[in-house]
């Protein structure tokens, strides 16, 4: 087996040359070639990570904007509802106030009218007594030909009126 022929100087010489070649290969790869690959690969990884980060930031921003819009809408609708409720309450209060004022005015007018009616009736009653007395006096004068006693006529009228009233 040529591999085990250690009397051949080439068997060991190839190992010495291998050490040199392997060392040189390691040096070139570690020093120049692999960093070049690492730069490209890591650069890509960084770029992807950066893009993902900015995408994530943009998404967070848009999410915040959407939340803001929703919040604003909710607030606006709540405000509008409050305004509507307010207006309704105000209108109701006004209407109540108006109707109360109208009632009061009507009651007042009614009272005044009643008072006026009472006065008119009293006045009418006073006038009736006089008319009755005069009429009774005139009737008696015509029938009997002599003027009656005014106090008797007065008493008779009073009695008749009290009877009529009761």
């Amino acid at each position: 087996m040529p591999q085990l022929d250690f009397s051949n100087p080439l068997t060991i010489a190839q190992v010495v040359w291998m050490a040199i070649i392997f060392g040189a290969l390691y040096y070139v790869l570690a020093r120049y070639t692999l960093p070049q690959v690492a730069e490209v690969v890591d650069g890509r990884a960084n770029r992807i990570a950066g893009d993902l980060d900015s995408a994530r930031a943009a998404k967070a921003q848009s999410d915040a904007a959407i939340a803001e819009v929703n919040e604003a809408g909710r607030r606006a609708s709540a405000e509008a509802q409050a305004a509507i409720n307010n207006a309704i309450a105000q209108v109701k209060a006004e209407a109540q106030e108006q109707s109360r004022a109208a009632d009061e005015r009507l009651n007042q007018q009614l009272e005044e009218a009643e008072k006026r009616i009472g006065e008119a009736r009293r006045a009418a009653m006073g006038a009736l007594r006089e008319v009755a007395r005069d009429t009774a006096g005139a009737l008696i004068t015509r029938l009997t030909g002599q003027a009656p006693d005014p106090s008797a006529v007065q008493g008779a009228v009073e009695g008749a009126m009290a009877a009529a009233r009761s």
Partner: protein
């Protein structure tokens, strides 16, 4: 060789000086020439592959990046985050072995990984590096590696020699595994190729039977490609495991 009427399946492993008179004067062998070629190929692949520095890589750049990222994840996966320091070493080792195995499959080439001197030299390098790393990181505490914590003291006379022998046998198993795989594959090629020639010279019947070793050799090429990649991977991953032990001491 068979063509010369001499059936020598081992002739393919014979060393010669290469590069003419210059090589003869410094004992530069055909195996070293293949090493140079392999090293040149991997540097060329990385250099020309990464030249476009494209964000979306082309074919050659993908190949270069896959070999970089694949080995990096293997290194970091088995050693840990500290493994990045050793990555150039693992990378060089893997591609040095892979190129030796792969280039050896080409006709008229030479398989330098089929030489025990070469594989043992590489394994020795690995074990020296691993031991140096362990001593550098852990100092004298490294020697506690040979006596696992928690083992009964009574068993120390038994455990320590076993651990020391297993540690020292690492380079032996590492180098013989690669060497034996490569030699076996190439001897099989040559033996079956010899059958083809012998049967081919034995009339019509012999020639028709001679198809069989030919088919077998075609299948063997595929198999040997697998072995070539696998053995390079095994060499690299075992180095990673040894480095893991050196960094973490179990």
């Amino acid at each position: 060789m068979a063509a010369e009427g001499k059936m020598d399946a081992l002739g393919q492993f014979e060393l010669h000086t290469a590069l003419g008179g210059l090589g003869r004067s410094v004992n530069f062998t055909n195996s070293n020439l293949m090493m140079l070629l392999g090293g040149g190929l991997i540097i060329g692949l990385l250099y020309y592959g990464m030249k476009p520095r494209a964000v979306v890589p082309g074919r050659l750049q993908s190949l270069a990046e896959i070999s970089y990222s694949g080995l990096l994840s293997m290194t970091e996966g088995s050693i840990g985050p500290e493994g990045r320091r050793f990555f150039p070493f693992i990378f060089t080792l893997f591609f040095f072995v892979l190129m030796g195995n792969m280039l050896g499959l080409l006709p008229y080439s030479f398989t330098y990984t089929s030489h025990i001197a070469v594989t043992f030299g590489l394994a020795l390098l690995v074990i020296v590096v691993v031991t140096a790393v362990a001593l550098r990181i852990h100092g004298m505490h490294f020697f506690s590696y040979f006596f696992p914590e928690g083992a009964p003291k009574l068993l120390a006379p038994l455990i320590i020699p076993i651990e020391v022998i297993s540690y020292l046998s690492r380079p032996v198993s590492l180098s013989i595994r690669l060497f034996a795989n490569m030699v076996a594959g190439h001897v099989m090629f040559e033996v079956f190729a010899t059958f083809i020639v012998l049967l081919g010279g034995a009339g019509v019947l012999g020639a028709s039977i001679g198809i069989l070793p030919l088919v077998l050799n075609v299948v063997l090429v595929g198999f040997e490609l697998l072995v070539a990649a696998l053995q390079a991977y095994v060499f690299a991953i075992l180095t990673c495991i040894y480095l893991h032990d050196a960094v973490h001491l179990h």
